[in-house]
Symmetry: D2
Subunit: 118 residues, 4 copies
């Protein structure tokens, strides 16, 4: 039996994951257009920053991709990962974790960027 | 057999219902606090206004109810119908429908307020 | 001033709209594959049937479209309107409304099929 | 500068967090009653198991709590953390992480239970 309880840094990474899963599945499917993208980005940032251990959330709308998608559809699309890059900063018991979501081969890849335990 | 296709006014009422179901189930569960309520309200309004036939959406946060709920919880709550009154105006083929969501006996009741076919 | 309160049939159409907006925005974004599609369809049907005035919900997964999409992605996709046809039956104060969602020119069109006031 | 890239075990904990955030914010708000709870639990389990690195998801509905809530409301409630205990098992590059969501002082606490790097 080698199961161990998590370290503080592992807990901080778990918290970072919770934030990404939350923001993605709370807001995926929201109708979005170039005109409404800024308010959606602000709402995502401020709502997830309410969650425990979440110091900062930054949502960068990929405006060209969004504008192009809205031209060929009905003036708006459903929000999904290909329309935004997201960075989350977690601080949990002195450990800082930075995590990102960005497109990778057509898929919105979420990953931990760095862990700072000092 | 007395099934009839819908009238234009009935279609407009259907569209109003779609908007309420959409906004409620898209945004219910979003972490919200007194500090982040304004950005959430804006995002709800602007996103749903993207949908077809939707002229206007107004979200009024019930600030006292929200503030009180956030005191006794972890500084934020999950968004649900008791934290906002919502009004939607639909214009579909010349028919204007106004619909509202407001608390009724502890339940967020959605209903059509008026239909103007002139 | 020609605003009128809604008729019973208009209210029934509003209720039908609420169900479509609800089911679409509650479940859009759910990870789905050919293997998990049946459980998602059942959950959509049974959850929305809980709502007032909702007699029946039928979700037909478009299995070929889903299978093809999952081949070219990571074995699953996010649920959206192009993967299902949906029919909802509302009974409200003696009026029966049947409404449908189906693809129309690449867009999941929701519309009232019939209104039976007898 | 002491930022480090994540270890494999930290990545596995991040993945576990993503699954919890996803399932919570995808399904919170779903109408649920004692009759429809089993299909919702199955849909949550099977949909999240589609996600990368996710070996197993178990959703245990808290049936008594749900039944009691549905008595005093309109026969159904909106799904939220107090109606289910959830366990997720992640396997990522040979590391197994078990994480749980359970009620803690009235709040659905998500946490890592164990990390096995052998």
């Amino acid at each position: 039996m080698t199961d161990e309880p998590p370290t503080t840094a592992q807990e901080a990474c778990f918290e970072a994951g919770v934030k990404f899963g939350s923001l993605y599945h709370q807001f995926a499917g929201t109708p979005v257009s170039p005109e409404s993208a800024a308010s959606l980005a602000s709402a995502i940032e401020e709502s997830i920053e309410n969650q425990p251990a979440c110091r900062d959330v930054t949502v960068d709308i990929r405006e060209e991709v969004l504008a192009e998608a809205c031209e060929t559809d009905h003036g708006y699309v459903e929000f999904t990962g290909r329309f935004a890059d997201v960075e989350v900063t977690i601080v949990h018991d002195g450990v800082e974790v930075i995590a990102r979501m960005a497109m990778d081969d057509g898929y919105p890849l979420m990953r931990v960027e760095s862990v700072d335990e000092t």
